[in-house]
Amino acid sequence: MDLILFFEQGLNGLQFGLMLFLLAAGLTLVFGIMDMINLAHGSLYMIGAYLAALVLESTGSFLLAVGGALAGTAAIGMLLEVGILRRLYARDHLSQVLATFALLLIANEAMRILFGSQALALNPPEALSGPVELLPGFFYPAYRLLIIAVGLAVALLLYVLVAKTRVGMLVRAGASNREMALAMGVNVKALFTVVFGVGAALCALAGAMLGPLLAVEVGMGESILILAFVVIVIGGIGSIRGALAGALIVGVVDTLGRTLLPMSLRAVLSPAVASNLGPSLASILIYVLMAAVLFWRPQGLFPARG
């Protein structure tokens, strides 16, 4: 086994993990601060990707596409919060799940009506469509490097925002003890709307960045939403730090697992059995991980409530 393979898979894991982080960050804040389960979070990711594809098609600029997706989705997210979700905070989790599941179905059908059921094309900028030589003889896709850079920058920005600013302080206060924050006179209504808008913008960023790698299609939010929930369960609900750690762990475990498991199985089992067993085992690996975390640390790796 060579080092290049490990290095490349490490980069792939990092890239995947950082994108998961963008989704999980918004989800964990909403869950942690507002105690609200939002199944429509994945729909915001889908809306972001569709907006990016739309802007890219009309302007031809990838930068504008990402910017448009961010602004548009943040606006939609805040409207959603003010118009609908605000009424659900006081309800129990079951009502929230039912209501946001309905929103998810509505969003899917709306996209199907507006854009049709075929996947939309969203291509990376021409300059980044090729590979970059990282080490002599080792090429890595330039676009994936961009995703890593954007992901790291956003992670840093969020850290500064949450750890060093006044808004961040209120967010942390809300996450660790909502009732106390309320009692201390925090304008919770406005805070919730802002947090929701930021969460939606992060979703849109993930959707716009991943669109060219995956496909812009109806239902793209659901598969990744499940992973985002796994991430916040592993990381600890309400904690940005936990979301980052959880996302990176899930990204790396999933990527490396898909390589190493079939390889190591082949060493001990016959090729036919190994090729049957490998992919199946690799795909459940992160759920095994989640179960292990729930068993030994039910509050997650970095719980927000101390």
């Binding site: 590979p131 995956l214 496909a215």
Partner: protein, 388 residues
């Protein structure tokens, strides 16, 4: 006694001779949403074109297409097939793209004694011991295209390959077929999740394995994404990518663009195959839909033409299933691939061709027929089929 005779006469009258139907209903179940939507849409468009050329009839009878979208999901397919068979009471079922859907719905169609004309998926499970008198394929046995590719890669002298296919029955069929005709070393076989769109992990393994050639069985959106990411990772500089015809077809070329140039692929049909029926099909298809037909479209077209010929042969008496089956077996129609005949398992005996993506006369990338790889090829499962 007179009453008995009277009622007997009434009974006989009510059974009567078999009447010709006054119209036929086609249940068209296919994948028409998501990244692989282009496949089902092409089959539907090919099928609809054949009906349109006939003025909306099949076999001289007005034909109605009842369309259902299985979303590439076996469970959805099962629900839809129940509706098509029991509520819509369709006379024929066709359109199915993916093998997982085919295997899930086929038993229900056979139980309903309805003919299932496959315009794509032809799994080994339905080609050998499990063959059915209700099943006909106007495409190719799931191994066929891949057998041709295996032979091509061997003949070309590449003696190390890595194979990639989704982890579902057709993926297993594909790689089995490939290995049946490929003589060199298989460095690695990767089975990915059906519908996977990010291939970063597989590409890293590919880079480490350093094969001379890569063979992919990744239909629809999976192939589009794989080829894009393969080129973005710079792997096209160190190895050769070969695929089945549908992974380098017009829809994929449109989605991927320039990096497709030069790619070799194998199929039982090509849009520049030289016969009169094909010329008419390609010209009409371009005129109707403004794009060049794919392998899928050609299979949909042939499915409609087969039904047309069989219904005509029994003069519209589609209730006479035995006669209809004989008419299907005779396959008395001009196929876009030239000669068309069924093997005992109702799978075509046909040629497989090598095609290459090149610049056409208009400067756009398109497929060009290069040579014939397998002639009058019979699939490996027919000998196990005891048609009842």
């Amino acid at each position: 006694m007179t009453r008995f005779i009277a009622s007997l006469a009434a009974l006989l009258l009510s059974v009567g001779p078999l009447h010709a139907a006054d119209k036929i209903k086609i249940g068209f179940l296919s994948t028409m949403s998501g990244p692989s939507a282009a496949l089902g849409i092409d089959i539907r468009d090919g099928f609809a074109l054949a009906m349109q050329q006939n003025g909306g009839t099949l076999g001289g009878l007005p034909a109605e297409l009842v369309v259902g979208d299985d979303q590439q999901n076996a469970d959805t397919g099962k629900q839809l097939i129940e509706r098509l068979l029991k509520k819509d009471r369709v006379d024929f079922v066709t359109g199915i793209v993916f093998t997982n859907v085919m295997l899930a719905v086929a038993p229900a169609v056979f139980d309903a004694q309805t003919f299932l004309i496959s315009a794509n998926a032809t799994p080994s499970q339905l080609s050998g011991a499990g063959c059915s008198p209700w099943f006909f394929s106007t495409s190719w046995q799931n191994d066929g295209t891949h057998e041709a590719a295996g032979k091509y890669i061997s003949d070309k002298g590449y003696n190390s390959v890595v194979l990639i296919a989704p982890n579902y029955p057709a993926g297993k069929d594909a790689l089995t077929g490939f290995k049946r005709f490929y003589k060199g070393a298989v460095l690695d076989e990767m089975y990915t999740k059906l519908g996977q769109l990010d291939y970063a992990a597989e590409l890293a393994q590919l880079r480490a394995a350093k094969p001379q050639a890569v063979y992919i069985f990744l239909p629809g959106g999976m192939g589009v994404n794989f080829i894009k990411q393969y080129n973005a990772a710079g792997l096209n500089r160190s190895m050769v990518l070969v695929g089945p015809g549908f992974s380098a077809d017009e829809d994929v070329i449109k989605a991927v663009g320039e990096p497709m140039a030069g790619m070799f692929n194998t199929a039982q049909w090509a849009h520049d195959l030289d016969n009169a029926q094909n010329k008419r099909f390609v010209a009409d298809f371009r005129k109707q839909y403004g794009r060049t037909p794919t392998v899928y479209a050609s299979q949909g077209y042939d499915a409609a033409r087969l039904i047309d010929a069989a219904v005509r042969e029994v003069k519209g008496k589609i209730e006479d299933k035995a006669a209809l089956r004989k008419a299907f077996e005779a396959a008395n129609f001009q196929s876009v691939r030239g000669e068309f005949k069924f093997n005992v398992n109702h799978v075509p005996i046909q040629n497989y061709y090598l095609r290459q993506v090149v610049k056409g006369a208009d400067g756009k990338l398109t497929n060009k027929l290069v040579s014939t790889i397998l002639t009058e090829h019979k699939d490996a499962y027919a000998s196990a089929c005891k048609m009842k």
